[in-house]
Symmetry: C2
């Protein structure tokens, strides 16, 4: 009898729950709005309902290894508790792992969503051939996670992967976090939109002004479209983004010398626009990228790539968690 | 019968070889000039001679586990070869590990000197209570290493720990490496001396000018002495150093969230002069250091400290290597 696990990706907008077998084959995905504004109990019921459906649909033919739950927040792994999460009001200090385990009678593993995405890429995406990788996720903010020796790296307080607040310009733009020059101020969707609005205010680009008028949302995606149409000002915004990412990545490469750095999140879609400036900065600032022979040939050992799994990375990584965890004895015989 | 290992710390000036037992008790240390300018064969003979003396002196009462050799260069661990080393002409691509093993009939483990220092601090210094740490070594240049899960972290190409070329000021001072604003340009002994010379040229400090006149060497140590005597200009040089270290450390803390960061190398002696600016930058740029309750209390989980082992860290870490390594079968029964 083959085994499967259930992954849960709880986002600010969408809730996705998937049954995935041990080889990474997705058996079934259920998707709905996460409804976080309707309160914690509502969301937990939604999650439990979807899990039960997948248990029912697949538990007869596969042995269930457990549930992995990815949430956007800082996790206390040992306690199975969300320690801090700005987008999950009412979830902080709530014992979500125990609660779901009692509701469902199945082992639950809680994890930060960016770590799930990193683990997903390791398992089925860009990182299949490596044991260690770093993943930067570009969204409203900038975050990320590490996989070290095949497992998520949490750091001593569960605070690893706060790439968005790495300093890239020491005297740069003020960040709400209290620092300045944070990567997030140059490489997030929020930053792209801010830089575009500033360019419009300065009347630098007729194309951006027009896009802002016809597109009521005027997102980072809109700015990317203007850049793709050849607008130099829009392109220069992505040059700024790429350069900031390049400085942060060069620092990580110089410090850690990992084999793989994956750029994920919605912002990864702008790879064609920001990656030239990113690599140009790496050539300048990373010893591995800059080095002459014999290291030149070894650059192949360091790969920078956009995500291969796109927005499924976190869901697949969440499903992977119960397969990696050594579960406590009371869960080892869970069968349906 | 208790066990011991022999550690070798090959520096640009000094060669130190020590017999250390498994509990970390130093049985004997031999020290001489490394004589690197006399050529590789001479140095290898010196090393082998010292190792044989320690084998002879301690091999009757203790079982020898092997030899750990720390060298200032990039190591190809699998091949036991120095891959790049600016201060060891003639050593690159030479199979030093095999050569010494054949000369001595004992297992040899080759390692980068900064990784040895990090491992020494983990074993017997500031890192005794943690599994993971980062060590920055401040010398002529700036380097360092990681210990992850109790063992040195090498990275995919053996290039981890190149902290000296992390960018701290994106448009900062040019570095011979080809980049600019590298940490090494603000926090190395070379940088301290350069900043002091610039201050003297600008006639900013009578005290620095006087020190440069009476001290023919005029090292970073001399600048530190002037700062200790209350000279504001000399102190501001260490503020610059501390601020640069703080930016680099905040980036590492935000990314990795390790429990311990050790500042070693000769520059660590200037801790009283540079650490206030370092911590001030951390308060601003590190999420862990900046966070309010409940994270405030968790700052205890992140420690920044000067080395506890000073210049013995690398020697002790080298001796630790054979105790950690799973040796190939042919070496497991080595007894004298």
């Amino acid at each position: 009898m083959s085994s499967f696990a259930i992954g849960v990706d709880l986002g600010g907008t969408n809730l996705r729950v998937a049954a995935v077998d041990e080889r990474g084959t997705v058996l079934e995905v259920l998707e709905t709005l996460s409804g976080i504004d309707r309160g914690r109990e509502y969301v937990l019921d939604q999650i439990a309902d979807r899990i039960r459906r997948l248990m029912w649909n697949h538990g007869a033919r596969h042995r269930l290894l457990g549930v992995g739950l990815g949430v956007p927040g800082i996790i206390d792994l040992d306690a199975g508790v969300v320690h801090a999460a700005s987008n999950l009001p009412g979830w902080v200090a709530f014992p979500v792992q125990n609660h779901l385990e009692r509701m469902l009678g199945v082992a639950v593993v809680l994890e930060n969503d960016a770590n799930c995405a990193a683990l997903g890429e390791k398992w089925l995406g860009a990182g299949r051939d490596v044991d260690d990788l770093c993943m930067l996720t570009l969204g409203t903010g900038v975050g990320g996670g590490f996989v070290v020796n095949g497992s998520p790296w949490h750091g001593v307080l569960g605070m690893a992967g706060e790439f968005g607040h790495m300093t890239v310009i020491a005297d740069g733009i003020s960040c709400p976090c209290g620092s300045c020059g944070c990567l997030e101020q140059y490489a997030s969707a929020t930053a792209i939109r801010r830089m575009a609005s500033e360019a419009i205010e300065r009347r630098e680009s007729a194309a951006l002004t027009r896009m802002a008028e016809i597109d009521p949302e005027f997102t980072a995606r809109s700015v990317f479209e203007v850049a793709c149409q050849g607008d130099g000002v829009a392109q220069s915004i992505f040059d700024t983004m790429g350069s900031a990412l390049g400085i942060a990545l060069a620092n990580l490469i110089n410090a850690l010398n990992l084999p793989l750095y994956v750029i994920g999140g919605g912002g990864a879609a702008a790879w064609p626009a920001f990656s030239p400036a990113l690599f140009s900065e790496l050539e300048r600032r990373s010893i591995v990228f800059r080095a002459g022979e014999p290291l030149q040939s070894r650059r192949k050992g360091t790969i920078i790539t956009p995500t291969l799994l796109n927005d499924s990375a976190g869901l697949l990584g969440a499903a992977r968690l119960p397969m990696l965890r050594k579960l406590p004895p009371q869960w080892q015989s869970v069968a349906l």
